[in-house]
Amino acid sequence: MEKTVNHRAWFLVLPVLLLVAFSAVIPLMTVVNYSFQDTFGNNEFFWAGLEWFQQMLNSERMWNALGRQLMFSGIILAIEIPLGIFVALNMPKSGFWSSFCLVLMSLPLLIPWNVVGTIWQIFGRIDIGLLGYTLDMIGIDYNYTQNALAAWVTIIVMDVWHWTSLVALLAFAGLKSIPDAFYQAAKIDQASRWKVFRYIELPKMMGVLMIAILLRFMDSFMIYTEPFVVTGGGPGNTTTLLSIDLVKMALGQFDLGPAAAFSLMYFLVILLISWVFYTVMTNLDKREG
């Protein structure tokens, strides 16, 4: 649609601007403030320069948390994206069963995150959970509160359970937009199932898949509640992801300076990714429009 230039449109945006400034800019300024200052209590602060940033960059704790975070995001992307596409390809295209699947698949997406944690915490327990009990009966040593591997498997399966449907729904939306003529042409050419997927469905899904990958990457990168409820970051520190570590540092130990420096670097990484996200999406919008 052709848009007209009208600077008075600013007045329509003003409420949003004020609200978001209050709920985002002021707090962010507080963080910036803390990251450059030190205190000995009594609300007396003095300039600390880049000290906190240097300390955090040399801190093994942060690098370890970052490593775990990247591993977590990498693993869940490697499972959820192919699985989501696979599920989308098998979904009924229309009619009652299509709606039926859509509704049931959306259910995990709408469950409060701490309840997702609670569900898996219960489900995985060897004494009262179906999954833990069954695994224990078969003779697999599974105890997510003691065993680091079991804890990791639990939070990964939980995330797959929670979010694969989102990838599937996005991929399904992409698939539905492919005109029937494409499939008829492929049939005339006697294209194999794989070739139909590779040369028709995959390219047509690329746009929504980019959105799915970036959304999943970003949301998994700031995940807090679900692993916190299930494992609390344990056993030891083995499932302490970035957000869990940051909350521990800021609200648990009240190490304001390091936590603020940590926050800013964390936020910068996300900003960088958001920028990629935005560029990709606007390019896609342009191509479609």
Partner: protein, 283 residues
């Protein structure tokens, strides 16, 4: 002979097994999704003795005592009331500021519009963990700590951008000629917006409201950080109960089931928009 085999193979490859394999895949996936939820429901209908001492796939002594506990104890049910209050406040605030802004973004070019649109998005992408401490201090210093409005405002951080993006997606679909015709007919901007434009994008408003409600409802970190007693949400009450020495599993499960209810009630109406909402209106 050869032809017959080929035909049989083709028939087998195309009709029967294909339909079945699809159904099997979907059935397995749905089973995987529903099993943990079923287990929660199952536990919420059992007594604690049965949960801890026997392993039963269906409750033997069906009991609604766990639900009764929650619905009669103010410490529990006030959690739901608190959550509903701030979630509703947040939805109203988010939509009322997002509607004019989304209209501006969908209809006009103005100075810095692209940057502003991107800046809004970055707030959706900001990790709540980064904002937990500054929010705590900000709302404490203005005397709003442990109030519903504090949580509602904090959740605007990610819900306002979400609402603007979703609404903008829907508004772009409305032809601009409608605006122009209305102005020629003598409508003022306000009259046009309320009487003509709003009904046209009512489904968009519904979807945006649903997602504001949902994202505020599912969030725990900020709502827990900003409240202690008076506005404590159900999510925080649940996590704190788990810290106690003896966990009341049945009540915990029942509380969990009750938090799923609002989403489950409206899910049918938004089924075609779920992907759109999660992808910020870009699908």
């Amino acid at each position: 002979m050869a032809d017959v085999t080929v035909n049989q193979n083709a028939a087998r490859g195309l009709s029967l097994p294909r339909v079945n394999s699809r159904a099997v895949v979907m059935a397995l996936y749905l089973l995987f999704l529903l099993l943990p939820i079923y287990w929660l429901l199952n536990m919420s209908l059992k007594t604690n003795t049965e949960i801890l001492n026997e392993f039963t796939l269906v409750p033997r002594d069906l009991t609604f005592a766990n639900y009764a506990t929650i619905l009669t104890d103010p410490a529990w049910y006030m959690g739901y009331v608190n959550s509903l209050i701030y979630v509703t406040m947040n939805t109203v605030i988010s939509l009322s500021v997002a509607l004019p802004a989304a209209y501006a973004f969908s209809r006009y070019h103005f100075m810095g519009d692209k940057h502003l649109f991107f800046w809004l998005l970055t707030n959706r992408m900001a990790p709540p963990a980064v904002f937990a401490l500054p929010f705590f201090q900000l709302y404490s210093s203005v005397g709003l700590f442990d109030t519903h409005i504090a949580v509602a405002l904090a959740h605007c951080l990610f819900n306002v951008p979400l609402a603007v993006w979703i609404l903008e997606g829907f508004m772009r679909g409305v032809p601009k000629e409608i605006d122009e015709t209305a102005y020629i007919d003598g409508y003022s901007f306000g009259g046009f917006f309320v009487k003509i434009f709003t009904p046209l994008i009512s489904s968009g408003i519904g979807v945006a409201a649903f997602f504001c409600f949902m994202f505020s409802w599912v969030e725990l970190l900020l709502s827990r950080t900003l409240t202690t007693v008076d506005a404590k949400p159900i999510a925080a009450i649940m996590t704190r109960t788990q810290g106690a020495s003896g966990i009341d599993w049945g009540v915990l499960a029942a509380a969990g089931v009750l938090t799923i209810v609002p989403g489950a009630l409206v899910i049918w109406f938004v089924r075609n928009y779920i992907a759109k909402g999660f992808a910020l209106g870009r699908v």
